[in-house]
């Protein structure tokens, strides 16, 4: 079992002819992802890594029955690409693109509230169900199938925590990078509820960071709705206020909201142990299982 993605998911790659799109399509295919089509305006009829390319997502879905997409489109055109996928009524859209203007994402977010399509990202490493499929840029070799769900706002920090888990034979059901932007399609709360309803997930790791109040909201859901135990890590304890720490969303406001301490306190109150180091997160999960 897993959430959102398995080896049956039929994927169209938007931006498949670009450098990143091509490289990661090959990587995803090698991992076992069921990629059925590419979509790039003006490139219909081409083939990339053995995959047929169509001019529009609509054509790709018609011809190949795709039900998910992954977006490798440059920031200036990415919101348009996401709209295209959403308006084609795909079940799942994963946007890898970093640097999409926030006001574009506000428009996308509004549309998402009116439809069933789930967006993951943008500015995220994607999603992986170990042993079955990956939709994103995560290095497949560090993951192992198992019973731990993982959700994170960061990419490489996810890899770090996953390698700590895998080192101790704590495999994963599904790992989801939700992205480091201020406005994202899928929140901690959404993924926590998915893991709670997945019988194969016996524990969940939540990797948060400074900025916003999503971790605090997650703490409320963990306390009120979840039986599955959760352990966490919060990055940015030493970040100074007012400075954007890489991710557009990772900023402690001048008035002190979005601090690591506020998130750690909220999660602790919900019974979530927070690792001081990534390795300690794996120890907490070991104890919770």
């Amino acid at each position: 079992m897993s959430v959102l993605l398995d080896d049956e998911t039929r994927v169209v790659v938007q931006g498949i002819t670009g450098g990143e799109g091509k490289f990661h399509t090959e990587q995803m295919l090698a991992y076992g992802t069921n990629i059925v089509a590419g979509a790039v305006p003006g490139k219909g009829g081409q083939t990339v890594a053995g995959t047929p390319v169509y001019d529009t997502v609509d054509e790709a879905v018609d011809a190949e029955k795709a039900d998910a997409s992954i977006v490798f489109v440059p920031p200036a055109f990415a919101a348009d690409a996401i709209f295209e996928a959403v308006d084609t009524s795909l079940d799942l859209v994963v946007a890898i693109t970093e640097g999409i203007p926030t006001q574009d994402m506000a428009q996308v977010y509004k549309r998402l509230s009116e439809v069933e399509t789930r967006l993951i990202g943008p500015n995220c490493p994607g999603i992986i169900t170990p042993g079955e499929a990956k939709l994103g840029i995560l290095p497949g070799n560090i993951f192992e199938p198992g019973c731990v769900g993982l959700v994170s706002r960061s990419g490489t920090l996810t890899y770090q925590v996953v390698s700590n888990l895998t080192d101790r034979n704590l495999g994963q059901t599904t790992a989801i990078g939700i992205g480091g932007d201020p406005i994202i399609g899928t929140s901690f709360i959404d993924t926590l509820r998915l893991f709670e309803s997945d019988p194969a997930t016996n524990a969940v790791v939540l990797c948060g960071e400074i900025g916003g109040e999503d971790e605090e909201a997650a703490a409320r859901v963990i306390k009120n709705e979840m039986d599955t135990p959760v352990a966490g890590f919060i990055a940015g304890r030493t970040a100074p206020p007012g400075k954007r720490m890489g991710h557009a969303g990772a900023i402690v406001s001048g008035s002190g909201t979005g601090t690591a301490q506020s998130k750690i306190d909220a999660l602790n109150r919900a019974g979530v142990p927070i690792g001081r180091t990534p390795a300690e997160v794996a120890s907490h999960i070991e104890e919770l299982l």
Binding site: P101, Q103, G155, Y159, D214, A235, R244, G246
Partner: protein
């Protein structure tokens, strides 16, 4: 990117929001010349890309030439949160009856812009938001439909501003939202928006923060960006396209991915070290980029030791190792201890390439950070 007050005011004025008479000057002679058109009493304001300049002494008043010369001399060259003041705004003083706050910002949890009005203008609005949030009236704006005039009246009445000013405040809010979308602002605010004794409305301050990710389609505003002075190393890192934040410790930190770099900083602190910086080389960095990153951190005189932490997904360990070797051969004498930790894609190949005569290697994040902290402690003795 934060615009200077005078840049934002120019945009406001062109859109019909009244602003006081003002001139930007860079020395006292220009100030004396400017005052002929602005007149006394005048307000002298530091133009810097950060908030909180009032508390830092960057806003003063002048009623005569002698005042003017003294205050302009005092403020020019002043350091405000790491920014050197190079320009001051000489602005006509306003006969104030009432001050209020108006602004629009992105409510990230709702995914919608929110407009805010408060009668508590002219003070630290963030403190008001924390201590007495009820004093700020708020109204969400649907990004798909845009703003409706009734919403501006609703929020103005809710805030309890004088009723004879509601119509003026409403039109200011409508204009602000137009500017917010047109210029890809993340925040736009007037604090204070003043009602004069003759019941006119005047924007006495102007804040516009522009979404860095939208600068590709805001080419006029992007042209202002090179004027950001700030810290010289931060400016250099910006040139190279790194996410870099300078801090006050002595352990230099380079890594890939914002979350992992933040976690590395936290781990330095956990082992009782002090981080000197945040530097994210980004995804898929090639050797030259790695070498540039090392140059920046080595140029920081406070740095006593460096930890290089790479977890490769799309970044390849052998590319990183080559970059480290290149940087070391470019600089003849590296007097700082460097600890490298490579994991993920091609980490093993990277370890084999690394010149371990000069750098030391650790296999875990914890061991690498602990070693770097110990090196820094030893070097600073």
């Amino acid at each position: 990117m934060r615009l200077h007050e005078y840049q934002a005011k120019q945009i406001f004025a062109e859109s019909g929001i009244p602003t006081p008479e003002s001139r930007v000057v860079t020395d006292t002679d220009e100030a004396v010349h400017a005052i002929q058109e602005v007149g006394y009493p005048a307000v002298i304001k530091a133009q810097v890309h950060v908030g909180g300049r009032g508390k830092a002494g960057g806003i003063k008043f002048a009623t005569n030439h002698s005042d003017l010369r003294t205050t302009v001399t005092d403020i020019l060259g002043m350091d405000i949160k790491g920014y050197t003041v190079e320009e001051v705004l000489i602005e006509a003083g306003v006969e104030v009856d009432t001050e209020m706050y108006v602004g629009i910002t992105m409510d990230r949890s709702a995914g919608e812009p929110t407009m805010m009005v408060s009668t508590e203008g002219g003070v630290d609005i963030e403190a008001v938001a924390d201590d007495t949030p009820k004093l700020i009236a708020k109204e969400h704006i649907d990004p798909a439909f845009g703003i409706y005039p009734y919403q501006t009246r609703k929020v103005a009445y809710k805030a309890g501003i004088p009723s004879d000013t509601v119509s003026d405040v409403s039109s200011v809010l409508l204009t602000l939202y137009t500017l917010y979308t047109e210029y890809d602002a993340t925040d736009i605010e007037i604090n204070p928006l003043m009602i004069t004794e003759s019941r006119d409305i005047v924007a006495a301050d102007a804040v516009m923060n522009i979404d860095d990710d939208a600068l590709f389609r805001q080419s006029e505003l992007a042209a202002h960006e090179h004027q950001v002075a700030g810290d010289p190393l931060e400016a250099k890192a910006d040139e190279y396209g790194f996410d870099y934040v300078r801090l006050d410790g002595n352990v230099g930190i380079i890594g890939n991915g914002a979350g992992l770099v933040m976690a590395t900083l936290d781990l330095v602190d956990h082992y009782d070290g002090k981080p000197a910086n945040f530097l994210d080389i980004g995804g898929g960095a090639k050797a030259e980029r790695v070498a540039n990153a090392l140059d920046i951190v080595c140029a920081d005189k406070n740095v006593d030791a460096i930890v290089f932490n790479i977890f490769g997904g799309i970044t390849r360990g052998d590319e990183v190792a080559q970059g480290i070797n290149d940087a070391l051969s470019r600089v003849n004498t590296i007097s700082k201890d460097i600890v490298v930790r490579l994991a993920g894609t091609n980490a093993q190949e990277g370890m084999e390439v690394l010149n371990t005569d000069i750098v030391s290697v650790e296999s875990t994040l914890e061991a690498a950070v602990a070693q770097a902290v110990a090196n820094a402690a030893e070097a600073s003795q």
